[in-house]
Point group: C2
Chain length 441, copies 2
């Protein structure tokens, strides 16, 4: 929808006439999937609050929006798409913005392909409604097993704890795979200190059932009773309908549009069905995040209507927090991991530095740990990760800016970041961390 | 002291032998002057908490520290300084780090040159002690007049309000002179909403006295009774002892060291007695801030001992907050003002954008206003100012990073800033603000 609206805006400027039809198999448009865990936690009153623009608002803007319509095939040379109802719809330009539905493992599914009662993913607004209902129906002392410890897994664990449930988090990895081990350990500690039963290296093997309803979870090495199971193991591009069209898809089904959103003549793509280009190592990576999707859609819409806006890649920034049961950590990262850097042939030097979010004598001062990595030869900043108290997380933005500009660890150490006692130490902790790495190059 | 310690560290690496003598006319070393308003507010238990390193700690590190020793003259060719007691002390290298004492206007002073009882500046740890005592002695319903509405003025107003006093703020300007008018208006509104009597355009003409003690303040256009008067109208480099040495001083008495801290053969300078170079327009400006002083000192100390660290200028970043009586605003700026840009021959385009510090549906969402200015022809980002709720202020760092790297307003709009609902909107408000300016260039 971001692409559609930008296209209309740009068309007014360029004088083009556009008739935009939007087909969506879902029941809602333009909602914040990222907000669903906070709705589950009780921070958000209802699903409507998560809707940025209603279907009516889109239609009022002149967009022919058709909900509940699933496209199952595309004929690119014939310039038509076919819906599940068999309708063929023609186009001059096709925009693929089908997103990435949550992956649902076989063990979660009944023979008919639907999930067992008490089991669900956390992706669509309907998923959110289902979870809010499940939480409301669950009795005191109910236990929630969260499968997956990525951003969504941690956010759902927070939601369940804040609703008073017992929580187990199972992860195949060491937890928070987007962080270096020493940083993910800090998040793990916060989870455990909040009362989460955290099981690392656990691959789920199956469910116990009470009739149609989940009653327990088994993994290699253990099991536990469970009233609810939240599955948060990732998402996958919804591009099956493009198989056989000749469009290049990655092994995982993702598209790789150019900076203007083009994937072929008259075919465009944006959002979670796409990979994005990471500037630092020029790698294509799958990062289905709302901020990339919004930017990408805007560049696409503008370009399609004759403008020149471009999505010039990203620096692999992301953020979340874990806040429940007396624990509060902000979690952020930008740039490469150590493994990324090594794979790119760089010579990474990395250190974790501990410091404070504010001057030590201030009540606002919270501990923060900052991981900084730079390339030994070029001194280029390669990556930064942050785990810490209030005010820690968005510090990542200054590092993301240095990465965007291909700056060095010295730039990060010496640039002019804002200092006053409620906000930072005289050398911001980010700069202390950068300086320590700079001294070791 | 930052220079002294870095010099010792570097000397260990370069194999130089350094004997460092530090002369200071004051009674304390290495304290956070920035923390004094928060001590006055009651956030900090005692002045000792503001001391980063005690005199003993400096001496233990091998520095010959002599407190209560004022240097009154320097002979650069003879390489000696002379103290107020008439002692001549020789040097091989002279480091001038004398700082900038608070300006005290004539109307505040008795004939003997000391301030009337109840009147004081807010600069040294001794000033802090005096203010904490004054606040403790002042009765219920006491009224504090703050003269000056810069950072210190606003912070002292917060402190006095939080201690339960009535507060008047008098300023010669429109308030918060480091902000554009439309942004300073937002701070003024917060002050007034917190119950401050704010008088803009007021030049103090004199005091009413009750014996030796202040009882009222007069300005052109008004007067009011006052129990205490805090003077926060600025600071001035303590360089009088250098007059006549041939060292170049600005009209205001500031030094202009090179990036390594050199001002002449065997003479160095750092900190608040210096101007700093602003990268964007290559202007020398007087910005007596702790973060510059710390960086500057480190570069100087390293260079003096054979290293090569350099202070490569700043981008004019600063931050504070006003938090009292139900009001809470974070206040930050970086880069040029509109007047700076025009003076530099640029063609500035600027806009204020209102947005939110977090996704609108989150309890963390607070209003924020962001002023962004760019150059019409080059699209270069020139300045950003922020006034808003919790999490607003340190957003300035991402803008400061773009300025450091001479980036464009498009860089700020499209770079990869961190998004999750508790922290930002999908386009961070900083990027919405940048985009709106980009669209108008």
């Amino acid at each position: 929808m971001s692409a559609a609206h930008q296209a209309l805006r740009t068309a007014r400027r360029t004088g083009r006439e556009l008739a935009i039809t939007v087909l969506d198999r879902g029941t809602h448009t333009s909602y914040s999937a990222c907000g669903i865990p906070y709705w589950m936690a009780g921070d958000v009153d209802g699903g409507d609050d998560l809707v940025a623009r209603s279907a009516e608002q889109h239609r009022d803007a002149g967009i022919d929006l058709r909900l509940g319509v699933e496209v199952v095939a595309a004929d690119l040379s014939g310039r038509t798409v076919t819906t599940a109802d068999g309708e063929a719809i023609g186009f001059d330009e096709l925009v693929v913005a089908t997103g990435a539905p949550a992956v649902v493992p076989d063990w979660a599914l009944r023979p008919d392909g639907t999930a067992y009662a008490g089991v669900g993913v956390v992706k669509t607004l309907d998923d959110g409604t289902a979870w809010v209902d499940r939480f409301a129906e669950a009795g005191d002392g109910a236990h929630v097993v969260v499968v997956g410890a990525g951003y969504v897994g941690v956010e759902v664990a927070e939601a369940a704890l804040r609703q008073g449930f017992g929580v187990t988090v199972l992860t195949r990895t060491r937890g928070m795979g987007m962080l270096e081990d020493e940083m993910s350990d800090l998040v793990n500690k916060a989870l455990v200190d909040a009362g989460v039963e955290l099981v690392l290296g656990a691959e789920v093997t199956g469910l116990d059932l009470d009739g149609d309803r989940v009653s327990g979870v088994h993994w290699d090495g253990g099991s536990r009773e469970a009233d609810l199971v939240a599955v948060a193991i990732g998402v996958r591009p919804a591009t099956d309908f493009l198989r056989g069209t000749g469009l290049p898809l990655t092994e995982d089904g993702a598209l790789r549009p150019d900076p203007h959103g083009r994937v072929a003549d008259h075919v465009w793509a944006a959002g979670d069905c796409c990979e994005v280009r990471r500037r630092i190592d020029d790698a294509w990576v799958f990062r289905p995040l709302g901020t990339h999707a919004n930017k990408h859609g805007r560049a696409l819409g503008d370009s399609l209507a004759g403008g020149s806006l471009a999505f010039e890649g990203m620096t692999d920034t992301s953020i979340t927090r874990f806040a429940a049961c007396g624990q509060y950590v902000e979690i952020a990262r930008t740039g490469l991991s150590r493994a990324d850097a090594t794979a790119a042939g760089l010579d990474p030097v990395a250190l974790v530095t501990e410091g404070s979010t504010a001057s030590g004598y201030m009540p606002e001062a919270d501990p923060v740990a900052i991981w900084v990595m730079a390339d030994r030869a070029s001194r280029r900043l390669l990556g930064v990760q942050v785990v810490g108290g209030r005010g820690a997380g968005k510090r990542i933005d200054a590092a993301a800016a240095v990465l965007w500009h291909e700056g060095t660890v010295d730039d990060l150490a010496w640039m002019d970041l804002a200092y006053a006692p409620p906000f930072a130490t005289a050398w911001d902790v980010l700069q202390v961390a950068a300086r320590r790495v700079a001294e070791r190059l």
